[in-house]
Symmetry: C2
Subunit: 330 residues, 2 copies
Amino acid sequence: MKKLINSTDSVVTDALAGMAAAHPDLRVDLAHKVVYRRAAPTPGKVGLVSGGGSGHEPLHAGFVGHGMLDAACPGEIFTSPVPDQVIEASHGVDGGAGVLHIVKNYTGDVMNFEMAAEVCAEEGVEVGTVLVNDDVAVKDSLYTAGRRGTGATVFVEKMTGALAETGAPLGEVAKLGGRVNARSRSFGVALSSCTVPAAGGPTFDLGDAEVELGIGIHGEPGRTRAPAAPARELTRVAMDAVHDDLPLSGEVLVMVNGMGGTPLVELYVVFAEVAAYLREKGAVPARSLVGNYVTSLDMQGFSVTVCLLTDQLTQLWDAPVQTPSLRWGR
Amino acid sequence: MKKLINSTDSVVTDALAGMAAAHPDLRVDLAHKVVYRRAAPTPGKVGLVSGGGSGHEPLHAGFVGHGMLDAACPGEIFTSPVPDQVIEASHGVDGGAGVLHIVKNYTGDVMNFEMAAEVCAEEGVEVGTVLVNDDVAVKDSLYTAGRRGTGATVFVEKMTGALAETGAPLGEVAKLGGRVNARSRSFGVALSSCTVPAAGGPTFDLGDAEVELGIGIHGEPGRTRAPAAPARELTRVAMDAVHDDLPLSGEVLVMVNGMGGTPLVELYVVFAEVAAYLREKGAVPARSLVGNYVTSLDMQGFSVTVCLLTDQLTQLWDAPVQTPSLRWGR
């Protein structure tokens, strides 16, 4: 294993120090491992907190900033953040209008965010929660009861973030988050395994001419292995899985996401196939993201996430955002 | 070899179709393989054209848009664009104020852009050229007489793009480009080889515990091979090479660039070391980029590029930019 790290123990802390040095709009609490907007809390605004294991960058810390998250709690690599981190972050972003926790559906994340929410409630901080569970690949998985939360997290964080900036109350922001999740679906394909620094070797073995269909973002098994195939066929498998679960129609937001080790030129090849598939079904790729947003360390592969847009969701997507890894408008 | 492609012959065209589908602000001429701003040419503005082999995405097509390039000419993977592409693009962006060619110093690129510039001149289009040659690793290399052009290309394209938006004349924009290049230096480190689709296997072999110091963006050899080492040591080698060539002081713009297969979490680890190194030398990392900007397909590794800022360069860097892969301001 070769990695650009100083030691397997210090990866997350060292990377957070790098974020602090690179992004003056962020304030990084290295002791508690929380990344805040510099000006948090914003009085009168619902505070948005997300978090999860590290190794999925830019998720979540790369989405802290105006129009998106107020704080992110990175756990160790592929390890849930601890309740103390989430409690600390929730206090740090509470501007008097309550705090929304955005949680990907993994057993550890759900448990730790729940514990944190209980403590916050006892301490007088109102907390709402959005659970993201968009991955159609498997019903239950290695780390999850029910569906896994993957790419739709980016959509939920962006759209709830935009709504929170308007001063909307906690209940409304939470409800919107649930609606975005309900209208979104994902499916991932791996060409190679990731390598977790502390493990020192690949999480799973995949043959030279094999792919994993329905891969999870920690290398958890998907639906099945299959022979490697052209991008067109792999894309069709992913899109069929999405479409079978949530028929695609109207204007959609679509993300073609790299797993961390896949060149951008290949992601654009996939996007062309996704766009063609959508048009074939009578849907319109009205908004899009192509790049690395919810990664799995150095894994090669992609995931596709689709959200059925409404006028409100399109407006919230288009609203200004200023974070390290998503920024537009002003 | 497993890749998200349909065929080794169609990678570039298929990816361009994906760019066209994803980015409504771009106009993609698939026949000539040129990516334009939708509204090109802009009357009275110097038109900026760059290009080079594909496989370095988002360079260059990801930097087409307001405040940066007017057109990009992607060649086949790691292959220079042909003169006809550059001629076509130059005509397409000529708004009457002339056209600037931004060329990375590789023998094929230089020759083909020169041929295109001659034809353009005969046809009455005024052309200026900026040659980028920022890589301090080697004096000459496999594909280059003199220094290679790498990361500084992003700085040159951004800053000349910002100046061109103000209506500055061709001579002034070209001169600025030369100044940015002269004040910038780069050095790259590879942990693994890239795999070119048409070749079907790794470009070079690197041992399990070995890195290549001074790597080129096509996998050309660098200065030397060395044992794998902590990020702190690899960063120091890169920064020493830069500092030995151009003493670092004052405010600097610094890019920690991923080679395509390296997770973002590792790039932030490197950035923390770069920032510490700069402070040690009395320099200030006043502006930064951390991510994949000048890649080498799926290579694992990083490069660092530093530019000594002036007030003018900082202003041009901060000016609004709206491209697929760099955007801020308005």
